[in-house]
């Protein structure tokens, strides 16, 4: 432990502490510009200077990099310090009059106007090097550096050309204290974060605000560490030491008695319907994007705004996007009608906009649903029955100028209508999740025609599958809304629980058996059995079936040359008799 005095306060700090850190502990503020706690001290701005008396010598030292020493007496605002600090800040102010942090410190020090020549009143860069150091120390990309000397010094990539080394991480802009670096300036490498973009903002995030569990994760594709092997700032700042980049995905084998599949759905990709212009028109958004937009924790704080930040005057909601359509999915996605109605209600609540609801049929089948529909009819939402053929921004009349025009055949009126709106919400349907087929393969279950998982029986075994012990819940089985999903999940859980509770498992009685007397011990059956249910008994020179392992496919039976193997309930004789029976006319 080292003892020192800062501004008269006696302190005891650990060896290796800088004066700046020590002062912070004592609640003494020392202004800094080029210092950042996550980066090595650079000591270039010379604003954090303090007067240090040690062993009878008094000198001005930068507090950001000077380590404390026993018996040091530090003054952070002596006359000498203030005089020098003031001059340095004044010079920086002349260099970068638009840099807010400099202005702030200048104000604190009572500098009104620099006495030195101002070259560029808009200049923000104070050459503190935080960006350069971030790029080197944190990112490890070394894409930018200082070029030139002295007055000509500036931050630039090599030769002033767009740098191949730049990974577009924007760490430089993040560290820049004055806003001198902006994303756009980075030679077009930076994707500007779109207002409505649901994409990643940072490499560490929770997937969505309502995520369960509410735990952040590291996006390997966005994380600097996984690109350059450097950074790991998160590790430095995490006091709980909860971050470990070396953690890898690992496979854990868990033995279970039954499995419930609830692999969910993916929303229909609205880009597949080019006529609706999703991706081309910024104000054509999908249901999920709208859901994000109205969310109070969303990008606009829950305000319904167009891409240009204004409130829409008219909104169209198009039902059955990708559903009930021979070209995409024939089935009804079941949830879109109701959520569309909810959207219409929310828009009514939050804006003054006219709302148009384009539907084929209103499917309000659940409890209270129809009543909600009626409420909306009363609220004044305009329901237009007909499939929208096109969304365009080419106006035909002055009213359509600057609007999105929805072309639709109003089947109730029997005419083609053009309805100008500001925002279009596409009620995209549900599709099986991306890895749906893979899952089906792993669990050896079938898919029905609509490509969702097939239940064992629509009425008798709606949550079971053809694989014993594997149950289905939710939208992996078919599109359904939350109440239905909850109900099915409950059922699936009970089925699984029933198995567990019973403690025993009923096997199919249809297993193979081998007649000891007939078996010649050829072992053909042994190699055929996919379940390793047949073993060869060396003592008896025969093959034997393990009933618990045998699933009863009968492959061994049909291959047995001696007829020793038989399948219960499907004996050769039985099938032969069946065949014979077929031909008794």
């Amino acid at each position: 432990m080292i003892h020192l005095t800062i501004d008269g306060k006696k302190l005891e700090v650990e060896e290796g502490t800088t004066i700046l850190q020590a002062a912070e502990k004592a609640d003494i503020h020392i202004p800094t510009l080029c210092f950042h706690p996550l980066l090595e001290p650079y000591a270039s701005c010379r604003v954090c200077i303090v007067e240090v008396e040690h062993q009878g010598k008094k000198e001005l030292l930068t507090s950001c990099n000077t380590l404390v020493r026993e018996g040091m007496v530090v003054e952070t605002a002596s006359e000498r310090v203030l005089r020098a600090r003031k001059l340095n800040v004044e010079m920086l102010l002349a260099r970068a009059p638009a840099a807010e942090p400099v202005k702030k410190i200048a104000q604190e020090l009572g500098i009104e106007k620099p006495r030195f020549e101002i070259k560029d009143p808009q200049e923000k860069c104070i050459l503190c090097g935080l960006c350069v150091r971030a790029c080197e120390e944190v990112v490890g990309a070394n894409a930018i550096s200082f070029i030139n000397r002295g007055q000509e010094r500036e931050v630039a990539p090599p030769f002033g050309e767009p740098s191949e080394a730049c990974i577009g991480c924007t760490a430089c802009a993040f560290f820049c204290p004055t806003g001198a670096i902006t994303y756009e300036d980075l030679y077009g490498r930076q994707v500007i974060h779109e207002e409505l973009n649901l994409g990643p903002a940072t490499a560490i995030r929770v997937p969505i605000r309502q995520a369960v569990p509410m735990v952040p994760f590291i996006d390997e594709d966005a994380c600097i560490h996984f690109k350059t092997g450097n950074c790991q700032l998160c590790v430095k700042v995490c006091e709980k030491e909860a971050i470990n980049h070396d953690m890898k995905e690992e496979e854990i084998e868990i033995e279970v008695g039954s499995i419930i599949l609830a692999s969910g759905f993916k929303p229909f990709d609205a880009r597949r319907i080019p006529a609706y212009g999703y991706g081309r028109f910024p104000n054509v958004i999908t249901a999920l994007e709208f859901e994000r937009l109205v969310n109070a924790s969303g990008p606009t704080g829950g305000k319904i705004l167009l891409a240009n930040g204004q409130e829409p005057k008219a909104v169209g909601i198009i039902h059955c996007v990708g559903s009930r359509d021979e070209n995409y999915n024939e089935y009804c996605s079941r949830v879109c009608c109701m959520y569309s109605l909810k959207f219409a209600h929310l828009i009514r609540e939050k804006t003054e906009a006219d709302i148009y609801d384009f539907y084929i049929d209103m499917r309000c089948f659940g409890k209270g649903y129809e009543e909600f529909y009626h409420r909306l009819l009363h609220e004044g939402t305009k329901f237009i029955r007909g499939r929208v053929s096109e969304i365009t921004d080419i106006p035909l009349t002055p009213e359509e100028e600057g609007k999105l025009i929805i072309r639709v055949e109003d089947t109730l009126v029997g005419t083609v209508r053009r309805i100008p709106v500001d925002m279009v919400i596409l009620a995209t349907g549900l599709e099986p999740s991306l890895d749906h087929n893979e899952i089906a393969h792993i669990f050896n279950i079938s898919c029905s025609q609509d490509t969702f998982f097939l239940e064992r029986h629509p009425k008798l075994a709606p949550v079971s599958t053809f694989s014993d012990g594997i149950f289905l819940a939710g939208t992996c089985q078919s599109p359904k809304d939350i109440p239905d999903t909850v109900a099915q999940a409950g059922a699936a859980a009970s089925e699984a629980l029933a198995l567990a509770d019973k403690g025993t498992f009923e096997l199919e009685p249809i297993t193979a058996e081998i007649d000891e007397k007939l078996c010649a011990g050829c072992q053909i059956c042994v190699s055929l059995c996919p379940f390793n249910a047949i073993t060869y008994n060396k003592e008896k020179h025969i093959s034997e079936v393990n009933d618990a392992l045998c699933k009863g496919c009968g492959t061994c039976v049909s291959a047995c040359p001696s007829g020793a193997a038989q399948q219960k309930h499907f004996r050769d004789l039985q099938i032969m008799a069946e065949i014979e029976g077929l031909f008794i006319d």
Binding site: C447, S448, K551, F570, M576
Partner: protein
């Protein structure tokens, strides 16, 4: 019996998990298909012993269909592959017996493919109808 009046007798060995369910689906979906196919349910297409096919032809079948799960989808992992191998070999053998290989067919029909089952069934019936009756006694002594 005139050609037009010829109604082929077809035997179908359908696996319990896919094709039999598919046939069931066709039925529950009220799809009509040729009534000529007589179905024998087996647990797996791999259970189909060549003897059964020969027996069927012997008993008077004009065509035999084996239908199982799509490759990779077998409830028993690989029974349908075994059926596939047997079908290839047996087809060759049947040709040697003078039975057109068209009369012995293997099809993959999943539980979701009611429509496919319908199609297969109708096609097969028409095909055999064109081929005409088999009248093969399979080495059985003339009665």
């Amino acid at each position: 019996m005139s050609q037009q009046a010829f109604e082929p007798k077809l035997v179908g060995f359908l696996c319990n998990w896919c094709s039999y369910t598919g046939a069931d689906l066709a039925g529950t979906a009220r799809m009509t298909y040729a009534p000529n196919l007589r179905i024998i349910r087996v647990m797996c297409s791999g259970r189909v012993d060549p003897q059964f096919v020969l027996k069927a032809f012997q008993e008077g079948a004009d065509g035999v269909l084996i239908s199982g799960c799509h490759p990779g989808d077998c409830h028993y992992q690989e029974g349908n592959y075994k059926a596939l191998r047997r079908h290839r070999l047996l087809s060759k053998m049947l040709e040697q017996f003078g039975i057109e290989k068209e009369r012995f067919r293997l099809e993959w029909v999943s539980a979701a493919e009611g429509a496919k089952f319908q199609k297969v069934c109708n096609e097969f019936t028409e095909q055999i109808r064109k081929l005409g009756p088999l009248s093969w006694n399979g080495g059985k002594k003339n009665e």
